[in-house]
């Protein structure tokens, strides 16, 4: 067992273990990913590696969360 702080630090240092895309590719695909999610479709199957990148990149995750929230708030 490890302390919560240590686990958090370990996660940030080691990042995702699975294959992931990069920041530029993430930005290119983010709109489609969000639209698929909002439509209830399997965005992760359509765009593999994007969710993993969101786990490893806090800035891209923030961008994703904002876009998801904005699109979800639209009529």
């Amino acid at each position: 067992m490890q302390s919560p702080d240590f686990k958090h630090m370990l996660g940030r240092l080691l990042g995702p273990a699975k294959a992931e895309i990069g920041c530029d590719e993430c930005f290119e695909q983010l709109d489609r990913y969000v639209d698929l999610q909002v439509a209830g479709q399997d965005a992760d199957a359509a765009l593999p590696g994007l969710r993993t990148h969101l786990h490893g990149c806090p800035a891209c995750r923030e961008d994703y969360e904002s876009l998801r929230a904005l699109v979800s708030a639209q009529p």
Binding site: M1, Q2, S3, D5, F6, K7, H8, M9, L10, G11, R12, L13, L14, G15, P16, A17, K18, E20, G22, C23, D24, F27, Q29, L30, D31, R32, V34, D35, T52, H55, G56, C57, P58, A59, E62, D63, S66, L67, A69, L70, V71, A73, Q74
Partner: protein
């Protein structure tokens, strides 16, 4: 739209088309939803139709930028109220230039509105992160590991954690100096990646590639030491 931004947009429109845009045929109209098709039609028109479309687009981008500013405002108590408005307007202006310059890149993979929103949100987020770090020194070295103490753990767990921490420190020391600085700044000190990219005169994609390589090397180092690095960010969050 401001006069300054209108001039900037015109400059953007006079730019030569990108190689990517030249290589791509226009999106077949049948692949687009009605709203996206109308946006593209109006933005590619001439005269008053196009001017009105650009005005509507700027309003859409400004709404997205204000949405982002509003979300982040509680975390930026030192900024004045009018600064948030200025940042949102600047973000919308810059996003408008990006969207118009990349109009041929839109392939209809999403709704047009979702596609343009991401430009405004990115511009606003980058500006706000930069403002949050304005005047602050970027820590590129790890000064102390004290925060990672094993206080409160059972003796066996504390010993295991200490062993892993020592291996991590050794593994980080074995990285190239560039990888080590990037890993420590981003993963330990929490410097936003676009802020660091700006300070180091590089870009977000290049920095993330370095971070990815550093993480892979660190995992490999731990594995060779017989330690299990399978704990990952997904498993902890």
């Amino acid at each position: 739209m401001t006069i300054a931004s209108a001039a900037s947009v015109e400059r953007a429109l006079r730019r030569p088309a990108t190689a990517a845009a030249l290589a791509l045929d226009p999106v077949p109209a049948g692949l687009l939803d009605d709203e996206s098709r109308a946006w593209l039609h109006d933005l590619r028109a001439q005269g008053p139709v196009r001017d009105a479309a650009v005005e509507r687009l700027h309003a859409l981008l400004l709404r997205a930028a204000r949405f982002e500013v509003s979300r982040r405002r509680p975390g930026l108590p030192h900024l004045r109220g009018d600064e948030f408005g200025d940042i949102a307007l600047e973000a919308a202006d810059d996003a408008l230039m990006s969207v118009l310059a990349r109009l041929d890149d839109f392939r209809g993979a999403s709704r047009f509105s979702t596609w343009v929103y991401k430009f405004a949100l990115l511009e606003a987020a980058v500006k706000l992160r930069k403002r949050a770090w304005q005047g602050r020194e970027i820590p590129l070295e790890q000064e102390s590991w004290d925060l990672l103490s094993s206080a409160g753990l059972a003796p066996a767990d504390a010993a295991e954690q200490s062993e892993l921490l020592a291996a991590l420190q050794d593994g980080i020391a074995a990285l190239t100096p560039h990888q080590r600085r990037i890993l420590i700044a981003l993963a330990i000190n929490g410097v936003p990646i676009d802020v660091l990219a700006d300070r180091l005169n590089t870009n977000r994609g290049a920095l993330y590639k370095t971070l990815h390589d550093a993480r892979r090397n660190l995992r490999t180092y731990l594995t060779k030491r017989g330690l299990d690095p399978l704990v990952s960010f997904e498993e902890n969050h």
